[in-house]
Amino acid sequence: MNSVELLLQGFQHALSAQNLMFALIGVVLGTLIGVLPGIGPAMTVALLLPITYSVDASAAFIMFAGIYYGAMYGGSTTSILLNTPGETASVMTAIEGNKMAKAGRAAQALATAAIGSFVAGTIATAALTLAAPQIADWAVSLTSVDYFALVVLALVTVSAMLGSSPLRGFGSLLIGMFAGMIGIDSLSGQNRFTFGVDELTTGLPVVVAAVALFAVGETLHVAAWLRQTPPKVIGVSTVWGLPKEDIKRSWKPWLRGTALGFPIGAIPAGGADVPTFLSYAIERKLAKGKAKEEFGRTGAIEGVAGPEAANNAAAAGVLVPLLTLGLATSSTAAVMLAAFQSYGLRPGPLLFTSNPELVWGLIASLYIGNVLLLVLNLPLASLWAKLLRVPRPFLYGGILTCASLGTYAVNQSPVHLVILLVIGVLGFAMRRYGWPIAPAVVGLILGPIGEENLRQAMQINQGDYSALVSTTFAKIVLGLALLAVVASLVLRVRARLKGKQTPEALVGAGAGN
């Protein structure tokens, strides 16, 4: 069967009344939580993960697809109306979008973000449909040497390319990788860093750690620093669509953003952040006349349309390495990978053949979720905006309660609550000192995968380290990793010499994830 037939079957599966309901619940909850200030998609997905445990795997992943895309939509609403991007990938949306909102064009900014997300999401999901099975077929030939190289590339890019300093990025990565080593080593059966705590022998639960770093850390951060500042929300009336003139200005940035977002998201490096920055830079360069004047002043619609499209296209792109290689390249993907694992599913080249119904149901739900979100978001934008007025103490009190209950509910283990609090305090400290969170989460999940492949490569090649560059693929990938480090250093030095602010520096404390 080719992928179109399989996709149609996936639709058949996803369009059943029950599954459609799960998709709807997913997008509503995803948007609802995603819209809350300071909460990015990774945190949304981690917080809502316990809900999906109550249904069977295929329904859970359909709900999951909805949550994933819903959180992306919700995040852009907050960025535009409140200027608090929940993650680095929506920083660019916040810059122009919030300016537009202040200039009285909030409705247009929200509409171009929503429609752009829909266009980009749909095109990129189609690209995923076509590319993923091919890549999975090809990936079967990858050896442990190749996987190790891919993990190195993903880890290097997630920590070096973004954030305020590569040093802090690597520091955060090391924390994550160390945490990933805790537990009984699966290849030799030895205890590592468990300090005599039985619960730790099973390893640090990734979802608990992610919830702690994101939700608890953020809550403590807000409680410590932002308690006194009431949110400055810009009101918006019901949005029904986009005027012709704005569509004319938006459609090219949507397509350009998609063209940047999907491929960059699909290579296991960088996730969604790089393409949104690139898209913003390109739109700003290409701007002429009125748009050029608006950029950075009253807000140019191109600067919202492009990055939003890039962001959503990359969100679909990130699913390519996640589904076909089992590699997570963003913190959201890391949480998704943990979700797969908690269902006993192992994403990788064989997932498409071993669980076709689930994979294609998931992909079909991405299309469906996108349509639901478009329908849901335009008319309901004003309702979402009201959510932002919920006083922060209630909001974050609720989040903390939910994070704790969700953590307890999954394993009924009080020790997990202690882990939640301890790592939450760590997350707070990391925010306080400007350490990015994403490398820690990605390191936590990719570290053990890298280690296993490294050790297997050594076992197969009897301890010969030169084997690590024995395949052409590994050479290319490790070369790219090196290039990424050098490029990020060069760009930083150049930016510093010019005295310019890098886009990363604009990321507020709350967007440290």
Binding site: Q341, A409, Q459
Partner: protein, 333 residues
């Protein structure tokens, strides 16, 4: 005045909506438990491994069939991950809970040896053996070996340069590989065994061609064997597997051993005889049910039911066989 009031109410509605969403998020994780009164209630089954693995599947199949047949109700399954199940074993050995059962099997027998676990199966009460899976030895389709004999011949010549992939260290595949090596005159200490944390990963290793051969459960490799990507050289059981009827057993091809990756159920140490009888009866009823027969077929499991003293002595003999071969391999000092 009025618009402000309306807005305030809308804000409150939004707050309520958010709170409701958060609460739903909180409430539902615990899954489905708390059924009505039925013969056996409050039963907990521990799967001493990650979700999706053999113990987990066995536990959840038991849960479903026990409930569907009304033999028990409100059965909970939970996972205690950890090297080859010894974490779960430790929890069971320290437990005072009469309603706690743990799925276990050959992999745990090996795991106890390799991890040097303080607790052993002596610290539990054996209830029953339920099912088994045959293992199958495969080579990539493009490899030169078409017969078991041919493969064994090259393996014997250069065991170090013949990496073979299977599941976790000290698990059933490594034990079987050691037994085969011993049987055909290869020093088990020379085996280049590539451990994987799961059958799926072992499969990838064989498909990518980076290992020369792979060992795993028949059901794990069947699909790729049927698709022509892997060539099966032998199955490990006494009889040929129903899933791969063309593939000869080891015995048929002159390697005198039979081997099953079996799974059973144990309870806490010092369980009263009446409770032990209760669980034995429960599992016997389960075993006799149509639902379980269907479960065995659906999961490609072979019926391998055994209870009482016979089962206890079976565990002892398996333990001895595993200990010897793992010592030869060098995993157990």
């Amino acid at each position: 005045m009025l618009p402000q009031l309306v807005r305030r109410r809308a804000t409150r509605a939004a707050a309520l909506l958010a709170a409701a969403a958060l609460l739903t998020g909180c409430g539902s994780g615990s899954g489905s438990n708390g059924g009505q009164a039925a013969p056996i209630t409050g039963l907990k089954i521990m799967a001493p491994a990650a979700p999706g693995g053999g113990y987990d599947q066995t536990s959840r199949a038991m849960q479903k069939d026990l409930q569907d047949t009304k033999i028990a109700s409100g059965v909970q399954v939970f996972n205690v991950e950890g090297a080859s199940g010894t974490n779960g074993l430790k929890q069971l050995a320290d437990s005072k809970d009469d309603n706690l059962l743990m799925t276990m099997g050959l992999i745990m027998v090996g795991g106890i040896q390799t991890t040097g676990s303080e607790k052993t199966l002596k610290d539990t009460t054996p209830i029953a053996r339920l099912l088994a899976e045959s293992e199958v030895l495969v080579v990539p389709a493009e490899s030169p070996w078409t017969t078991l004999e041919g493969f064994l011949e090259s393996w014997r010549q250069d065991p170090k340069n013949t990496p073979i992939a299977g599941g976790g260290a000290g698990g059933s595949e490594q034990i079987l590989l050691g037994l085969i090596a011993d049987q055909v005159g290869i020093d088990p200490g020379q085996i280049n065994y590539v451990a994987n944390s799961g059958g799926g990963k072992a499969l990838e290793k064989v498909l990518s061609g980076e290992v020369k051969a792979g060992l795993n459960g028949v059901s794990e490799f069947k699909e790729q064997i049927d698709a022509g990507k892997l060539r099966a050289l032998a199955v490990s059981g006494d009889n040929r597997s129903k899933l791969l009827p063309e593939v000869k057993t080891l015995k048929e091809q002159g390697v005198g051993l039979s081997f099953y990756n079996w799974r059973g159920v144990h309870a806490r140490p010092g369980l009263s005889d009446s409770d032990k009888q209760k669980f034995t009866d429960m599992l016997t009823r389960l075993h006799d049910s149509e639902a379980w027969k269907k479960t065995l077929v659906d999961n490609d499991w072979e019926d391998y039911f055994l209870t009482g003293a016979e089962y206890s002595s079976f565990v002892d003999s398996e333990n001895e066989r595993a200990r010897k071969v793992l010592t030869d391999i060098g995993l157990v000092k």
